[in-house]
Symmetry: C2
Subunit: 150 residues, 2 copies
């Protein structure tokens, strides 16, 4: 057993420039209804932090169920965030891969021991998410979500 | 029913600079054996094409089973390829998301009608893969793999 259960992959998340347009394109491609688009919560509720500092970012999100995993679309706003940094640095693309973990602290401590810091953190009703700055180690940002591991 | 069955997602594929190092990092993270690293076939067998032209690229690959999907690691070589272009343009990251499709031609014709060309094509024993240049439409390159749709 490792630090993360590989079968607990739960999410592929994209950063896009125009979420309404991209969501409509996926809806046509998959033959589904256009997914609902919503925003992350205000800072008072989400306690969002980007590279250790509070941020007022309120990204737009949409989620498409793909079975074991979901495809998440994200359109950043102009406030500092991991999504905005990614879009400015990389352009549109996959921002992170998400895994559910049973012990969030253990995973974060493991990454800290490898020199991998937290890049962005936020909360939503019933949960939270933590983006690890793991591109140098793993080729991609990982999202750590507390929950059942598979 | 759309052009692609969304539940037929089968692959998240990364481009990395050092596949041996990244594969070892994932093996430690997941508590698994280091995956075998192999190369794509020579051009005579793979018939690889990059943006419409034959290429001698032989990327290194490793595959980690995550359940419904696999995580594929790819290290490009110096020959022209979609992977090399991605690494030079975007740096390390998710190169594509793969879906199995029952009618490859229909999917390619659909994308052509949207102005989305084939970016890269190759063959392997028992199959083939086609990277669509779909970043503007879908925020990510899609890989189209013939096979069962779910």
């Amino acid at each position: 057993m490792g630090i993360i259960n590989k079968d607990a992959v739960c999410q592929i998340a994209l950063v896009v420039k125009d979420i309404e347009r991209t969501a409509a394109n996926y809806a046509e491609l998959f033959g589904i209804e256009v997914p609902q688009i919503f925003s992350t919560l205000p800072e008072e509720e989400s306690h969002t932090q980007y590279r250790g500092n509070p941020t007022k970012t309120r990204a737009k999100l949409a989620v498409i169920d793909l079975g074991q995993i979901v495809l998440e679309l994200t359109e950043p706003d102009d406030e500092p965030s991991s999504w905005k940094e990614f879009l400015e640095t990389n352009g549109e693309g996959v921002h992170h891969i998400g895994f559910t973990v049973s012990d969030r602290v253990k995973v974060i401590e493991y990454f800290a021991s490898k020199g991998v810091p937290i890049r962005h953190y936020g909360e939503y009703p019933g949960g939270n998410y933590t983006f690890m700055d793991s591109v140098k180690e793993l080729g991609v940002i990982l999202n750590i979500k507390p929950g059942a591991q598979s």
